[in-house]
């Protein structure tokens, strides 16, 4: 078996058992691995409508066929489960070094079932798999857990949840290698609900290659493309992903104050350029990544820590009207330590600030916390993040995410979410195609599973008119399918700044065997997207959930270059369903399922209607 290790671990935490099962290669290839594999398992093994935080839910960690293989950006793994935040499929991706090291233990994936009675962690060293007592690390922050386990077990890689996951916050992340996050969808809470604190790995196996010579050649060729690309080899490593702050702001689509504004004249204070000039210590890279977009920054007190991504700089910055890098870096560190998704955490504080601005949240609600909810309060974003991580005081309410909070105050429309998940750092009123991704994304509000900002603003792979609706639905569909491919084979989506579909075909085939061409690989992505959609339909999340917050559809942008625009989802959505081969209600047709080899799931169509 090439690319895949051929073995899956099934760990039942209720019974305390570990089983090794063979990977069905046909399934592996048809669903590529990682995201595709996990969704398939969730669909086949988990009954409909389980409570995400109950022992019936499963928690899957999976690698792709290319994870750990000697090709660029192959450090990725995926967490797949049912989300406690959205009720949809959760698919959260992370880089760093944990994924390839886990795969080196000789396994492609772990399926966690049940719930342990007491806190445990898993130790995996090749074939040795142990369920160990975690009472000494329960309650500890990520850096503490990592240090303790590294001390006990030597050269290991650590994946863990922080206090937020233990305390079942639906915006809790799964962290690995200290500061890399499988962030979205509240996957950390699912791990916490199973009393599973960490997974520690040490492996000595290599990924078997179909054609070693060809893999080497293909890899060198792709590394060269990435190094020579002006973004992947220039802008991204030089300034980090926060290089976007200025371009997104100058384009008038940087959400300010919970999407009340779309432009700020203070953006440069929190830009990638400013981070580089004033706070950057060095760059960092995930496993086998020639891009190195990671940041290492210095805090105000001189401590050197992992730095924030663009999304975090926005959620804690412009979204809260804070333009203080020290505070943003500190809040980012606290999210990494307590295990919170930085997008949802920052955006929830921003929503709370608007609830306060409009008089829903009263002074007495937060009097005992000693923190304000005033726009621009840099101290408050740090203070609230800590309270969210520990679920203390009003921080306990914030840790539920913005939707539950705003709904409890009778103003759910002030939660800038889709399917209850916080939207990221782009106002879709000025980037029409990107709004499709927000609305239809199978995991709720998210930008990265079909990054239309690339063609609509950055000019990759070509430049589209961002206000035009024409052709955007079809474009978005292709991006959604391509991202499903990239996630599922186990490489980084940032490699698309340089690489295209054929490059992924080259890499997959060199490692796994001549299985795919451009058309069939993209179709595998389409298969995965459709299976996720079926999962959601089964859970009752139908197209009535494919919407955007009212503000973005009805209130025109009030300032900056995109002033006066709203998002035209009503025009784009029917077209998207059509190009997907779905009916007008957003349900895949039988022919579409047959074309994609998903006939076995036809029964769920009936359920959806």
């Amino acid at each position: 078996m090439h690319g895949y290790m051929g073995k899956i671990l099934r760990i039942n935490l209720t019974e305390g058992t570990v089983k090794t099962e063979p990977l069905d290669l046909e399934v592996g290839q048809k669903y590529l691995g990682s995201r595709g594999f996990g969704v398939k398992v969730m669909m086949d093994e988990v009954p409909a409508n389980v409570d995400p935080l109950s022992e019936e839910n499963k928690f899957i960690i999976a690698t792709g066929a290319l994870t750990g293989a000697p090709v660029p950006t192959s450090g990725r793994y995926m967490v797949i489960t049912k989300s406690p935040l959205t009720g949809t499929i959760a698919i959260a991706n992370s880089g760093g070094h944990w994924g390839p090291n886990f795969k080196a233990t000789g396994h492609d994936a772990i399926i966690f079932e049940g719930k342990s009675e007491k806190p445990v962690y898993i130790y995996i060293e090749d074939d040795k798999v142990e369920i160990r007592d975690a009472s000494h690390i329960w309650g500890k922050k990520i850096s503490e857990v990592t240090e303790i386990l590294e001390k006990e077990d030597g050269k290991v890689k650590v994946l863990s949840i922080g206090p937020a996951g233990e305390k079942l916050s639906p915006i809790a992340a799964v962290m690995n290698d200290m500061d890399r996050a499988a962030g979205r969808g509240g996957v950390g809470a699912v791990m916490g609900s199973k009393n599973l604190k960490a997974v520690v790995v040490k492996g000595s196996n290599k990924v078997s290659l179909f054609d070693e010579e060809r893999t080497k050649k293909v890899s060198q060729e792709k590394v060269k493309i990435l190094r020579e690309d002006p973004v992947a080899g220039g802008g991204l490593p030089s300034y980090g992903s926060a290089v976007l702050v200025n371009i997104i702001n100058e384009s008038g689509v940087l959400p300010v104050k919970n999407f009340q504004g779309s432009y700020t004249d203070k953006a440069d204070l929190i830009s990638g350029e400013t981070m580089t000039e004033k706070h950057l210590v060095k760059k960092s890279a995930c496993y086998r990544c020639p891009i190195a977009c990671g940041r290492v920054v210095k805090l105000a007190d001189g401590t050197v820590v992992g730095g924030p991504e663009y999304e975090t700089v926005w959620s804690y910055g412009a979204d809260c009207d804070v333009y203080d890098y020290d505070a943003i870096n500190e809040a980012n560190l606290l999210c990494n330590e307590y295990g919170l998704d930085t997008i949802s955490a920052g955006a929830t504080i921003a929503a709370a600030m608007e609830l306060y601005q409009r008089g829903y949240i009263k002074d007495e609600d937060i009097a005992e916390d000693g923190l304000s909810l005033n726009w621009g309060d840099a101290e408050a974003i740090v203070g609230w993040t800590k309270k969210m991580g520990l679920r203390e005081g009003f921080g306990d309410r914030l840790a539920e995410g913005s939707y539950i909070l705003a709904e409890a105050y009778g103003a759910p429309e002030l939660s800038m979410t889709v399917k209850k998940q916080e939207l990221p750092a782009y106002d879709p009123r000025g980037v029409q195609g990107h709004g499709i991704t927000y609305a239809v994304n199978n995991r709720g509000g998210c930008h990265i599973k079909g990054y239309m900002i690339s063609p609509e603003i950055l000019g990759y792979p070509e430049k589209l008119d961002r206000l035009s609706l024409e052709g955007k639905a079809a474009y978005a569909k292709t991006f959604h399918d391509l991202t499903a491919v990239i996630d599922s084979i186990g490489v980084c989506v940032f490699s698309t700044f340089g690489l295209g579909l054929s490059d992924y075909v080259d890499m997959y085939n060199a490692v796994c065997g001549d299985i795919y061409d451009d058309e069939t690989l993209l179709e595998a992505g389409e298969r995965i997207w459709n299976l996720e959609k079926l999962f959601n339909l089964r859970e009752g999340i139908d197209s009535t959930h494919d919407k955007l917050p009212k503000r973005l559809l009805e209130e025109p942008v009030v300032d900056g270059p995109t002033e006066g625009h709203v998002h035209h989802l009503d025009k784009l959505l029917p077209e998207y369903y059509e190009v997907r081969g779905w009916d007008e209600k957003g349900i895949p047709t039988e022919e579409t399922l047959e074309r994609l080899g998903l006939e076995e799931y036809k029964e769920y169509l009936g359920l959806a209607k």
């Binding site: 220039g234 371009i247 100058e250 008038g252 350029e273």
Partner: protein
């Protein structure tokens, strides 16, 4: 004469600063501004005129804001 604000980003700032207010002849195009700043047009991947994509042959008007970016990306 017209006055145009030129904002520079990423490495375009090296040797040029963050912002320049330029006094220009009427009818000056975006391309001519790039030439004045010694910025190769191939390198100016994102050219925003008052926040929207600006074609290089567009003539500038008084009080226009031009934002110039080399290729950048993230997510």
């Amino acid at each position: 004469m017209i006055k145009v604000e030129v904002r520079l980003f990423a490495y375009f700032r090296e040797g040029r600063g963050k912002k320049q207010v330029m006094e220009l002849e009427e009818g000056t195009t975006i391309l001519e501004v790039l030439e004045k700043l010694s910025i190769d047009k191939e390198e100016a991947k994102i050219v925003l005129l008052n926040g929207m994509d600006g074609p290089l042959d567009r003539e500038l008007k008084d009080d226009d804001v031009l934002s110039l970016f080399p290729p950048v990306g993230g997510g």
